[in-house]
């Protein structure tokens, strides 16, 4: 609370308010305005400084990336000339060599270079045609079974009847066996929990 209001609360209600000189309040108001202006100016200056520094930094980086100035002048002059002399050729080669050294070409991770030839429309059409055939012959709606089942059926109904191929040949149905083992383990554990 300001001084003025403080004195108000301290004194009683009967007394007259204290006299505050006009000058005092004027100076206080002016001061606050000046302060505000000052702070704004300071902030602006700080920002300016920051910007200036950043600009300098960028310029320096750009200078580092760019070729030396004399070569740049050379390049400006070259398109105007017609058949290049040998000296110019050498300079050009030097320039391109330096350019190669100085310009590291890098792409972002998600970008890649692809030839137009490879990503032609013909390939996508071929792919869509093959997908169509696959979906008609092997897709949903067709009643397909596995080769293992087919061979097992043949064994069951054939002349020399035998067990299904998964049991005879170790390689077949290896993943089925693994699954079966896992589920067996789970079952045993469950049983143990229940009984214990």
């Amino acid at each position: 609370m300001s001084k003025l209001t403080q004195t108000q609360y301290e004194s009683s209600d009967d007394e007259l308010p204290e006299e505050v000189a006009f000058d005092e309040s004027k100076t206080a108001a002016l001061k606050s305005v000046k302060d505000a202006l000052e702070s704004a100016r300071r902030e602006k200056n700080i920002l300016k400084e920051k910007r200036r520094k950043r600009q300098l930094l960028f310029q320096e980086q750009k200078k580092r990336k760019c070729l030396p100035e004399d070569l740049l002048e050379e390049f400006d002059a070259l398109p105007q000339k017609q058949p290049m002399t040998k000296d110019n050729n050498n300079k050009d080669e030097e320039a391109t060599e330096e350019a190669k050294k100085m310009v590291p070409k890098s792409l972002q991770d998600s970008y890649s270079v692809v030839r137009l030839k490879d990503e032609s429309a013909a390939k996508t059409m071929q792919q869509s045609a093959m997908d169509f055939i696959n979906s008609r012959l092997y897709g949903p709606g067709t009643k397909r079974t596995t080769n293992a089942e087919h061979l097992s059926l043949q064994k069951k109904r054939g002349l020399n009847q035998g067990a299904a191929v998964e049991f005879v040949n170790k390689k077949w149905g290896a993943d089925h066996k693994v699954k079966a083992e896992k589920s067996n383990k789970r079952f045993i554990q469950k049983q143990k929990l229940v009984s214990s």
Binding site: Q126, M130, Y138, T142, R144, K156
Partner: protein, 685 residues
């Protein structure tokens, strides 16, 4: 006979590809077979179905249809290109882009002037067949939807096109559609799925026969555009149709693996009204049948189970002989395995890579008939991938095991191997002579100093191999004008003689010192399926596709006495009845009168010093001989000693340490990697 240690090899994971299209040429009696990987094979139907020519495919290439136009063979695939094949040199001549998207069907008219292709964008494009190329002529009216199948009317004035849910009949001259025939969808749940007309056939009396994905074979009348009759032959798709030359028999191939025959006969005897009646069902396939063809006396079918099945039609055959039995062709009639005899290495040829394996070693006492325990397992020494998209056409490894050569359709590669202890290092020979651009067949000389490669115009190029690289030495040119590609080569042990056999049944013998033709063996009516030159007597032993054998003495330029004896007496009936050709001939260095041969189901040693079996003698007499006492064995034994222990043999070769290598490929192992078959409900399962 002889005792051999046998290496039984089952680690060659040979995987054939499914058959996609068949095309029969009635005059030449050749059957062209297109496979899913883009390779085309030509079988000679009257020469025991010998696989005469193989044109290798490429990666990412599929063929959808084949068509003969005169003597020329065309194919079209989903990559949108039409390819013509050069059958003399066994490669693709050129490709033409159809510019209509993926091409689903290709068919030539009977007059041999035009080729029609059905494309993805709904157009039927007509190409004019010129002398050297085909040229686009015009499009017929464009339709909305893919065109799956095409068929020309024999007069060449109309084309029937099978599309989704309908068949369009076009007038070729105007290009407009005459009829739009709607094909019914299935009943029940399959009503929501569109019906694909997988194949159409146009008969000369105006009947259009279609096979669709509902499982129906429907006969339509093209005059009115209405249905005459429909037959439900299966619950799944009817994928292929083919009509015979005189249009009285039709065969249909289904997804279940059945081939159904329809015949145009009169239902009541002696009445004239004929109709299409379903007659026979053949269940010879386990997976989808994607192509059928009817030749004069048999029905040929092929599908996703990679076998070519030839089922003779018994009503068309006069004499019931072994030729009228069912035939299944599983393996190629060429060697895919080459052995380095002195080094104990084997080279396996896959479509896009090569594998070099070293054989294992065994230990233990040798008792005949017992299997020995393995001391060291066979191991893979090298896996060589081919750069580029083309498939390997032929490959070879030198007998010493230091050189590997392979060829694709456009280039040949030669590699030198170095073995130090357990490491294999391989260096590519980059500077090859320009003549070695591509080879139909490769062969190394027995001392590994020369490489023979057969190329275009039936020439054989000879290059010498040494530490510094390879140098062109010369070319062996045949005398006669036949330019057919050479499919078999054989070099003699002493390096003096060289033999080559081509698809025109010509066998030339060259003298390697003068590099000129020494003699030509008289042409026999059947193709040579295997040949070899004897190491000591320098006799050329040839086995033909019809199981006939010849022995030709190179130095005396005439057939040997043993060969003449075989022809006078004739071979045993059981030998003639074998249905797979002999693919390799070897000689036993320890016993000069023994010749070792094999085919897919048997291994045979022919002892030329023993008498030939007569007609009544038991052919497979090994077991009976074992049961007889020693003294009687000699009097009862005959020249052919057959061992049937090994089945589904891909290759048998003899190593220099007197051990035989038998490379087997069980058919069940191939079945495991095939695509899924249709579920069939059988009683009590």
């Amino acid at each position: 006979m002889g005792e051999f240690k046998i290496h039984r090899v089952r680690f060659f994971d040979y995987m054939p590809t499914g058959i996609r299209a068949l095309a029969f040429h009635p005059i030449n009696e050749r059957m062209a077979v297109a496979r899913m990987d883009g390779s085309v094979e030509i079988f000679h139907c009257s020469d025991n179905f010998f696989q005469e020519k193989i044109i290798p495919g490429r990666e990412q290439c599929g063929i959808e249809a084949l068509s003969w136009v005169g003597e020329r063979l065309f194919s079209a695939g989903l990559n949108g290109e039409i390819t013509e094949y050069d059958l003399t040199n066994q490669k693709a001549k050129y490709t033409v882009d159809a510019y209509g998207g993926p091409v689903w069907a290709i068919t030539g008219n009977q007059q041999g002037t035009h080729l029609a292709v059905g494309c993805e964008d709904g157009t039927v494009k007509l190409f004019e067949v010129n002398e050297d190329k085909i040229q686009f002529e015009r499009n017929l009216d464009r339709q909305k939807g893919r065109i799956f199948s095409l068929s020309w009317h024999p007069s060449g004035s109309k084309i029937a096109a099978g599309m989704m849910d309908m068949i369009q009949v076009f007038n070729v001259e105007t290009g407009h559609s005459i009829h739009r025939i709607l094909v019914d969808r299935g009943v029940g749940t399959s009503r929501s799925k569109e019906c694909v007309v997988w194949s159409v056939v146009y008969l000369s009396d105006g009947t259009i026969i279609s096979g669709d994905s509902v499982g129906m074979v429907k006969m339509w009348d093209d005059h009115t555009g209405t249905l005459i009759k429909s037959h439900n032959i299966t619950k799944c798709d009817v994928l292929a149709l083919s009509v015979s030359q005189d249009e009285d028999s039709l065969v249909a191939g289904t997804s279940e693996g059945c081939v159904v025959q329809f015949q145009f006969i009169s239902v009541v005897l002696d009445k004239d009204d004929k109709e299409w009646v379903r007659t026979r069902t053949f269940k010879n396939h386990t997976h989808d049948v994607r192509a059928v063809a009817e030749i004069t006396t048999a029905v040929v079918s092929g599908g996703m189970d990679t076998q070519l099945v030839v089922r003779p039609l018994l009503d068309k055959i006069e004499v019931w002989s072994s030729a009228s039995a069912l035939r299944k062709i599983h393996f190629p009639h060429r060697n895919l395995v080459s052995c380095a005899r002195k080094a104990g290495l084997m080279l396996f040829q896959y479509p896009s890579h090569l594998e070099l394996w070293r054989l294992g070693e065994s230990e233990g006492i040798d008792i005949p008939g017992m299997s020995l325990s393995i001391k060291s397992k066979p191991e893979k020494r090298l896996h060589l991938k081919v750069k580029g998209e083309e498939h390997i056409r032929c490959s070879a490894v030198s007998p010493c095991g230091e050189w590997i050569a392979y060829s694709t359709a456009s280039r040949l590669r030669l590699y030198k191997l170095n073995f130090d202890n357990n490491n294999v290092s391989i260096t590519k020979i980059s500077k090859l002579p320009k003549v070695l651009s591509s080879a139909n067949q490769l062969c190394f000389s027995s001392d590994s100093s020369h490489l023979f490669s057969s190329s275009t115009m039936a020439l054989v190029h000879v290059v010498s191999l040494s530490q510094s690289g390879c140098k062109f030495v010369g070319t062996l040119k045949p005398k006669s004008g036949s330019h057919q590609a050479i499919h078999l080569l054989a070099a003699s042990e002493d390096g003096k003689w060289f033999a080559s056999a081509n698809s025109d049944h010509e066998v030339n013998v060259y003298n390697l010192q003068t590099r000129k033709v020494h003699c030509t063996v008289p042409i026999y009516s059947s193709a040579v399926s295997a040949m070899g030159i004897h190491p000591t007597t320098n006799c050329l032993f040839m086995v033909h596709a019809d199981q006939q054998m010849f022995e030709y003495s190179i130095e005396q330029k005439q057939y040997t006495d043993w060969s003449r004896l075989v022809h006078r007496k004739g071979l045993h009936r059981i030998w003639w009845e074998r249905d797979t050709p002999v693919t390799n001939v070897m000689f036993n260095p320890q016993n000069t009168s023994q010749v070792i041969l094999h085919d897919m189901y048997m291994l045979c040693i022919i002892d030329q010093s023993l008498p030939l079996p007569g007609e009544k003698t038991q052919f497979y007499n090994q077991l009976t001989l074992k049961s007889l006492p020693e003294e009687q064995r000699k009097s009862h034994s005959h020249a052919f000693k057959v061992c049937k222990t090994f089945k589904e043999i891909l290759c048998v070769d003899l190593m220099s340490d007197q051990s035989l290598v038998v490379v087997e490929r069980p058919l069940t192992d191939i079945t495991t990697q095939l695509p899924a078959p249709i579920k069939q409900k059988k009683f009590a399962t």
